[in-house]
Point group: C2
Chain length 89, copies 2
């Protein structure tokens, strides 16, 4: 069963491109440093392993929020909608 | 009844300090450009009004995810935990 996750990252500039590319393989880009999407447990583990191999754990931070499904009741955008996917339920 | 929200912002450098200061009034900082916390409907409206008065809607983007309560089942951190609050349930 898939999880819905939101990933936010705060990593050194020199590792941003790799983190971005890795997240893009599995998730939808929604904003600078923010991705979201449904992901299978197997792909989630791949994502985590790949991110752990990229980041410097003494410096960088990545937070993954887990939800059982597209659980948020609303996503409100102030200003520009930058990403292309909608997940309103 | 309070909502639990996650706020992520992607705004021009010259407006970051104001957005940061406004979010900090109502929420907990968890990472660069990311805040979360419980908020009453009245304070949520204040937060939205204040953010709308700061941002340039043609350039900036702020996403607010709404949850009925602290709805995420897990928050996993890769690397550093930068914010001070924990919201595991």
């Amino acid at each position: 069963m898939s999880n819905f996750i939101i990933v936010v990252y705060d990593v050194h500039q020199k590792r941003v491109a790799k983190v971005l590319k890795t997240c893009r393989k599995y998730l939808h880009w929604v904003q600078n440093s923010v991705f979201e999407g449904e992901i299978t447990p197997a792909n989630l583990q791949r994502l985590i392993d790949e991110l752990n191999s990229i980041i410097d754990p003494e410096y960088d931070s990545i937070i993954i929020y887990f939800f059982r499904r597209k659980a948020y009741t609303e996503r409100r955008i102030l200003g520009q909608e930058k990403g292309g996917e909608n997940y309103f339920i």
